[in-house]
């Protein structure tokens, strides 16, 4: 069974449907790009996938041993975070908080896991630095390391290159690609068609019309759409 099976889902707020008839699956190790205009229901979809917002109709099923709290999330930055006094180490370790239950401290194994993830993302040398003084690209790496502390199975990234310069964006894409090759399933929400063409295995387009398929199918379909228009 696929890690995520979304069947005939209707998404919306306060009884008003934004997306109807949405169906797609995500296999383990997949790299899915989620494209869509602002207001197309992307953020509602994210919340529903994370289990924070109920779907209005249809179902989202998890399989292949994926639990609800095993989708690591890389959110867009909030105002609160921009001037938050916290060290990189504190933030990376906070990804572990969900797995402790009522235990008030982190075990040695958990701290080692945090160290390993910082090493993987090349931010070990920043561990004592203050988060708000880092560059945008470095901040994203910190949040990525935090997400990896919560889970290695699936990452959901919400426009991770928004506000980054081209160099930092490219680094970010390569980093995510590396994680994908090491076995993490990636769901990437983005505007960036070029990067989608380069890295995606599947593409989901939200809005009118809906589309879900492999990258090549998407490119074919897009040509067809353009002809019609």
């Amino acid at each position: 069974m696929a890690e995520l099976t979304v069947s005939d889902v209707t998404l919306g707020y306060e009884g008003r449907a934004v997306v109807k008839g949405l169906s797609f699956t995500v296999e383990s190790g997949d790299y899915l790009y989620i494209l869509g205009e602002n207001g197309s229901g992307k953020s509602t979809l994210i919340k529903s996938l994370l289990g924070l917002h109920p779907v209005m109709a249809g179902s989202i099923q998890r399989g292949d041993g994926l639990e609800q709290d095993e989708i690591g999330y890389l959110p867009q930055q909030t105002d609160v975070q921009r001037d938050f006094p916290a060290s990189v180490l504190e933030i990376v370790r906070s990804g572990l908080a969900g797995r402790c239950g009522l235990r008030p401290y982190y075990t040695k194994a958990e701290k080692t896991l945090a160290d390993e993830n910082m090493e993987r993302l090349g931010i070990t040398h920043l561990s004592r630095r203050c988060y708000r003084e880092l560059s945008g690209g470095q901040q994203q790496r910190v949040l990525l390391a935090r997400a990896l502390c919560a889970t290695q199975k699936m990452l959901l990234l919400d426009e991770p290159v928004a506000g980054l310069d081209p160099g930092a964006s490219e680094e970010m894409y390569q980093l995510v690609d590396k994680l994908n090759q090491e076995g993490t399933t990636i769901l990437m929400v983005s505007h960036d068609l070029q990067a989608a063409g380069k890295y995606a295995r599947h593409i989901l387009r939200i809005g009118e019309p809906l589309f879900w398929g492999t990258k090549d199918e998407y490119l074919e379909w897009q040509k067809g759409e353009m002809k019609d228009a």
Binding site: L52, T78, V80, Q81, A86, S87, E90, A97, A150, T151
Partner: protein, 278 residues
């Protein structure tokens, strides 16, 4: 000066005041950092007015120990305020404003209509600014203060990592299996408890100052969450102790003296932060 202090400290109520003051300062400063960062400072302000209303009701009803009434009412209000922040038509800040000024007005009205005291404005003033309350604590008050503030500190230590996670990023925490709603509730309940305690020290109008100033001062100086919390606790205790001592020596009102200390320290920290960042 030392002799005067020695003389004062031979009275148990002065010792009580100092113990209670330090404990309240400590627990409110721990919480302050989280409240400021979560943009919840205004909830503290609203709750303190609710507590004032509750005191008025308790006075009118002639309840012998006010805290027994005020504590549960304020905690209930905290829970309600948190709920309204999310789903209702009245948005969070408007709800807080409504409840807080409402409680303030009705509280004063009740006291005015039913109070048997001969010095009404004195009573109101001391509830709002905490002028003498700290020096007239009964031993039951002291025990409640000690127990509740120790409880607040224990809860804070036990849930420190989770409180950090929820404060920094609620959505992420929720997605990875922390029940952010529960921790927000926990934070609101502790806030209510701290506010009721702090009313004894600085009165209901000045509580916010006690909660936010040490946190804001510490944030000027330090860059990690733990350092900010520790610094905020130290500053708060130092200011409270100094404020109480100065107010005894100079017979100034306790609450506003402590807050004046807090403001002074904040300005100092702000300058140091500006200079060291250059």
């Amino acid at each position: 000066m030392l002799e005067t202090l020695q003389l004062y400290f031979s009275y148990p109520f002065v010792r009580y005041a100092l113990i209670v003051g330090v404990l309240i300062a400590l627990s409110s400063s721990l919480l302050g950092v989280t409240l400021v960062l979560k943009r919840f400072s205004f909830i503290g302000d609203g709750l303190s007015h609710v507590a004032f209303g509750a005191i008025a009701v308790a006075t009118v009803l002639g309840v012998s120990n006010e805290m027994v009434v005020v504590m549960p009412v304020t905690i209930l209000a905290a829970v309600l305020l948190l709920r309204t922040g999310k789903n209702t038509k009245v948005k969070g800040d408007a709800a807080v404003a409504m409840i807080s000024v409402g409680a303030l007005a009705l509280g004063y009205l009740l006291m005015h209509l039913f109070s048997t005291s001969t010095n009404l404005s004195g009573d109101v003033c001391s509830t709002l600014f905490g002028s003498t309350a700290i020096l007239t604590l009964s031993s039951l008050d002291v025990w409640i203060c000690v127990i509740v503030s120790v409880l607040v500190m224990v809860v804070f230590l036990l849930f420190y990592h989770k409180i950090f996670a929820v404060t920094f990023d609620e959505t992420f925490a929720e997605a990875t299996g922390l029940h952010a709603g529960r921790y927000n509730l926990l934070i609101a309940v502790i806030t209510a408890a701290v506010i009721v305690l702090a009313m004894n020290l600085v009165g209901s109008l000045l509580i916010s100052a006690l909660i936010i100033f040490p946190a804001l001062s510490a944030m000027r100086l330090f860059k990690s969450f733990r350092a900010v919390i520790l610094c905020s606790a130290v500053l708060s205790v130092v200011c409270a102790t100094a404020g109480i001592l100065v107010s005894i020596l100079g017979s100034t009102p306790v609450g506003s003296t402590i807050v004046a200390m807090d403001i002074g320290v904040f300005i100092l920290c702000w300058i140091v932060g500006k200079v060291s960042r250059r």
